[in-house]
Symmetry: D2
Subunit: 470 residues, 4 copies
């Protein structure tokens, strides 16, 4: 990604909060004024450029000479991708582009770097022993598991690991990816995002194995003991920072793929029965009011979307619900802003669709969220990126409203979002759009959208939900 000096960098920094938490291997270059004019703070100088992007990048630099620009960009690219992956930032002064790269640059183009994160035999043996002797292990999987190599079911991967262990599987809290097939009988949904909530959820298990997630990305503050008495936690992560900062458990920094493959191959099939599938909540009927329950929307979308659809979601009040209603069997089927930084949904949907032309992207975005990044519709129209944008319009910041209610506060300003006509906005940017008021219209609009090769927006009036309700 290339950004425009200080202001362009500034405009991108909200989105960077998600990128850094998501371990996105993103190389950012930024424009800069002419080298000898920056210190005088001329117009568009990015004074203190390397400092600007911090702490939202892994690494940030501005080469001291044009001759070091090629090596610096090479360093950025390698560093972004090496474990743990993340965004990096390089500021390049304007006049450097007219300089010769020098003969040494040829070495850079040929470079290859990689991380060897294999479990040593003794570590593998210890982990296998812990899993084989556990009375009741449970798996907690995080976003770094959501890759084709690791999720694969029939082959070696987390599905086989769960099946061999006869263990239930949760998604780590504040889930930004879906690391396990949501229709699998062992699947238990997403963990609650509080200290006490997680301890309650894993009660009864003597061993919690967390793979590919921090321990844990709590959200609401409900203190308590971090683990039930007598429960052990093992943590496999690609990120030394996650390993070091966790408040409990033993951690191994490893390549997730190598570790999962080795474990799923080495653990003994458990004698215990496989977990029963969980009971899912019923899908509410369309009550004819013109507003649909979000669960009804999700169920209709799940039914109408192709099996390999990708869901980019930014509807913060329905976070847990998607894992009940969507079929997320394939890897890379679900994206949510990893740091909760709003404005993610519309542009990320466009980006994922560009990256995955062979699958269809459905964006499920709340009205509050959509407004942060509305101009992504223009990009979709201009480049004919065939995203199906579903706007769940409940006219409020329902997640905030829920917090406000639970805290007993009254008169909170700024949580209503009246008066936005997303159909008009879409048309202003050249995207076909339609508002639907019952589930039949929704199904019809969805089918039309999927039949089109152009982007389409469907605005669905929805009823507010309370994500903190028990």
């Amino acid at each position: 990604m290339n950004l425009h000096a200080a202001a362009g960098t500034g405009n991108a920094m909200g989105a960077l909060t998600n990128a850094v938490v998501a371990h996105s291997p993103l190389v950012i270059t930024a424009g800069q004024q002419v080298r000898d004019q920056v210190g005088a703070e001329v117009m568009l100088a990015n004074v203190g450029a390397p400092e600007l992007a911090r702490p939202l990048v892994k690494w940030s630099a501005e080469p001291l000479a044009a001759r070091d620009v090629p090596r610096s960009i090479s360093q950025a690219a390698h560093l972004a991708a090496l474990a743990p992956a993340g965004p990096v930032y390089v500021s390049v002064p304007y006049d450097d582009w007219a300089q010769d790269a020098g003969a040494a640059a040829a070495h850079l183009a040929a470079r290859h770097t990689s991380t060897a994160g294999g479990l040593p035999p003794e570590t593998l043996a210890e982990l296998v022993a812990a899993l084989d002797t556990a009375r009741s292990p449970v798996l907690v999987l995080g976003p770094d598991v959501d890759t084709a190599q690791v999720r694969a079911g029939a082959e070696i991967g987390v599905v086989q690991l769960a099946e061999r262990l006869s263990a239930p599987v949760w998604i780590a809290p504040s889930a930004s990816r879906c690391p396990f097939p949501t229709r699998h009988p062992a699947f238990r949904g997403v963990l609650p995002a509080s200290i006490a909530g997680i301890a309650r959820a894993v009660a009864g298990h003597d061993l919690v194995v967390v793979i590919g997630a921090p321990v844990f990305r709590y959200h609401q503050y409900e203190p308590g003991d971090y683990l039930p008495e007598g429960t052990r936690l093992l943590h496999i992560t690609c990120d030394p920072g996650e390993a070091a900062r966790a408040p409990m458990g033993d951690a191994i920094v490893a390549d997730i793929g190598q570790a999962v493959r080795a474990l799923s191959d080495a653990v003994a099939p458990a004698a215990r029965p496989a977990p029963d599938p969980r009971d899912l909540p019923p899908v509410p009927d369309d009550d004819g009011s013109g507003r649909l329950d979000p669960a009804t929307v999700l169920a209709a979308v799940a039914q109408g979307a192709p099996h390999d659809a990708i869901f980019v979601k930014e509807s913060t009040s329905t976070t847990a619900m998607v894992f009940d209603h969507l079929d997320l069997t394939l890897p890379g089927s679900y994206y949510f802003p990893a740091a909760g930084g709003l404005g993610f949904g519309l542009p990320a949907a466009v980006g994922v669709q560009l990256a995955q032309p062979g699958r269809r992207v459905v964006a499920l975005v709340g009205d509050g969220s959509a407004n942060y990044g509305i101009t992504a519709l223009w990009t979709a129209a201009q480049h004919r990126v065939p995203v199906v944008f579903v706007i769940l319009n409940n006219g409020t910041y329902a997640a905030l409203r829920s917090f406000v209610n639970h805290m007993g506060v009254s008169g909170t300003p700024g949580i209503d979002i009246p008066g936005i006509d997303f159909v008009a906005l879409a048309q202003g940017y050249g995207v076909s759009a339609r508002r639907v008021s019952d589930v039949g219209q929704l199904r019809e609009a969805l089918a039309e959208a999927l039949a089109s090769e152009a982007p389409t927006l469907i605005e669905v009036p929805t009823t507010p939900t309370d994500p903190l309700a028990p």
Copy 2:
């Protein structure tokens, strides 16, 4: 301003580039997770909060204890306003709001701070001597002069100073405010924004007096000598940083208002004749093509707008033109993004209109710029902020196109902006809107908008201009 933790801060950082350069005394507080959960990087934790806002703020902090929050916010408020004013940032953890402020907080509410920046007698005498003995002095005024106290004409102020000196007056380059009446015969417009360009513009003057601006905020790079041979430069600024980093001239850090009042009172009336008014370019006629020349738009707006209208402008390809066509006699009549950070125009217009309910704000915003901050229209509609939004839609980033042409580059991507219907967008946000295609319709639409108590958007198709043309 209160921002939401890291992502909210990130979203604001593009705008902060303008605020810091504009010396805006802005106190920003930011949300933060529960104190003892931040280090573990839970969801929405702003890890390294004070570092995040740098280097775009004067000061950034996160109090180490709830008990120090009141004093820290007090410190922020005083520091933001003390010379040189600027934005400051304080991160306040969630749980602090439930703590008692302590008895010491009573002292804080009563505090008053100020800066004594008066010229000592010997300094004043030296400056007056330099001005009185100059053969041909010229004044260059910057944004920090644009206050009621300093600009005042009949009384003591820069107008009297210019008249006593019989000196021409320029605006410093990259002008974000208008510090002098544009209809005054001594007014010469805005200086070009290059080293050689300024040297050419002040050639023939033996003394350049710069007040309330950096020396200088160059933009395009055209090297040369910083000053003509034999020309002296004196610089009066409220900002020690500006004083220290200038490449030439003598600088005095002072209170602009006190300094201007003292100087305008003390200089002797010059014997030379007053400068003649400059020749202004003619206003192009409407050629009936359905697209208007921006100068035609500006002239029509100048004619139709009330005498005390405030213009918030973000049309980067017509920067110099506004000082030819708009009557900016009153202080506080003109606002442009100080750092060139786009996305300023629409939200700033709403903000200025809220701050100045007794004057009418006209936003003059290019299509490229408007799209960065389009949601400001929703705020205007919801709060019935009666800005007249004039969108100069030339379908291109004309400033970039101009650079590209002058550099002889072909095939540059991303500089066209086709397919945006601003009328539809405005309607999507609840703002009345109309597209006009000739100057008569423009005058009519403007009159209607000014007669309304609600916000209105007028989209005007315009012809591209070349700001780098000689």
Copy 3:
């Protein structure tokens, strides 16, 4: 000052803590590797150089091009000296020194910058009214008052101000300079360094006027109300940061010299009687034990030293005592580490002596402190800098011991300092040295040292003191 890349900068950073608090206008340049090798982190590269010196400097930079080095060093020099003065840091790559400075550098050599910090008439009138109508004002003076212009007695200055007001005068706590003649009858010594202690000390006064100090640089934590009920505090400082962060009182950022001269000239002579001189503690007799009380040492030194001697002191357990026993009538007579950063005494004594060849410097340094910067003796010897180094050797970190005792802790390690022979160390560096064991020998050694044109060290075994004793 020029430092060697990262390690040299690191070695200086302890001392920088004092420099930044002392408002020392210090320009630091640092070596750096060849420009295009720094990013690759070759040996002696200072990676992230501008960040290294922070937050202990006002400003830190590394020019992006050789051509901007002259302007950057100019910026550094001006910024260091502009109010509030402080250290600045510029990293200069190795290969830049071989480049041509360019024609623009000629402008830099001619630049002059200054700060106009005069009180505007209305502010002066308000201050004078407050002083004239106060029932019982008290002055608290800080290190920024300790300049020749401000302290002057018979003329306009703080002495005249105190005399006209008939007000007692304290030194602000944690005093690093002496801003008032210690033999003047109005002088009251140094304020205690705790919240409650200061409130007790100023009880009975309705107006506290603090000039040239932060409000306040507390040290030990004894909470309480910041001011007695009904007492007002006015604060005149050269530092906006000090003004903004104070927990109470009204503050004016001004040039200290201009403000004091204006006030001392404008206040009306008070009708109240002048304050009586305070009672000073007696000087303990030499008890013949071979160890002297520090007060005895100070009294003997005060008696033997020339009237214009300069005392550089770093004996943290005798901080208050010096203002009882030393005659500090002239400006610039006393230097103490402003941030309490040890290692200051010996090198600062050498530096002050080099800066003031016409006055004689006596260093009064504790054994614990001396050891931090012992190599300064070598510099003194090599350059024949005629400092009289008096080492008060009580064999302990008495300030720490005092804290430990008051906190009731036992068995604290590391607070004894046995087994250092300062006479041998001095001889190892080529400085004449002598150990004395009674007051007669001390007087004799002092006379000899003052008669010599070379540096001399006098080691005096002393008894430990308890600076926290009531």
Copy 4:
């Protein structure tokens, strides 16, 4: 390590330059004022504490609440040790020590973290293939190889790897540890520290395998191609930063021990003949002048020291020489300041001796270097740490003198170091000391020192050397 707030941290920062480059797993805690007093900048407050230690630490933090202090220190300890190891910094406010740690702290004490850096099978196979098919491979080993597990000879390790490959072995430039037995016939000494110098040294080899070092820590700037035409470079490192920033070659981030063991086990024994031992320079005779050649000193020390002696060296002008004359067969036998930050030798010798009570430490320190950390002698005396301090006193900064000569500069100030009597200094600190003037006295003094259980200093007048001589 615990440091005293800002000044204590500042004093340590020179040494931190070495620690960070050396991958030293160092947990630094720092004192801080009372939480709610820091913002007001009271005496000894460490304002901006986390920023102060940067960029010389891997991680720096100040917990936002007392309750997060235990987890923060736990995080620091784990992060310091996880690959790549390095120093970390935690500031802990004064009042936190009186708070209860909370029940959650029990989890922290039980935590264990580790890094799984094993080579995956396909990576191992590729490396082995490259080594097995190389015509003439060469090994370059760095400081991270210098551990017992990796260096071991008869067993699996770098010695076996070198022997199986019949490859010569160099030490990477700017060597801070010794990773290979200096008496082994395959050993070639330390690579020169310039781009062109290394290319010359590896000319003729088709494969360069660098293990446990950056590629490369150049020092003097002699540009050229980074590698001979047709030479491939493979790099195995524990540090992603080293992998990413290298200007050439392919890199694998791995656990050095696991990688070396896997490789030495898997490569096929080469058919080529083993490298012949290199010719070593002769040891100069004592010429009776009273000054010894440093090589004569090293040879005498090598002969007199026990076989398992540890050498801590800081004589920058004899860097290459030690690998000719010292027998460094055992792991952990050699320590040099990794960043070239002077002041390392004396204190590091004390530290290593405390850590290795079963082996005898000999410090080989130049006079210029010794003076930076002279007070370490006092620590040695007080704790009876039996280091043998050998001061090579040539009266000059010979490394600088050498640079100055090669650059053809005359009149450079500050490179002579006359007039220091190290025997007197040692005695001042309570360390037995002796000056020797011929090789017989040196042998005798060394034998006496080694026979003593207390520290001893031997000052040896030496002749200056020219490390840049061909």
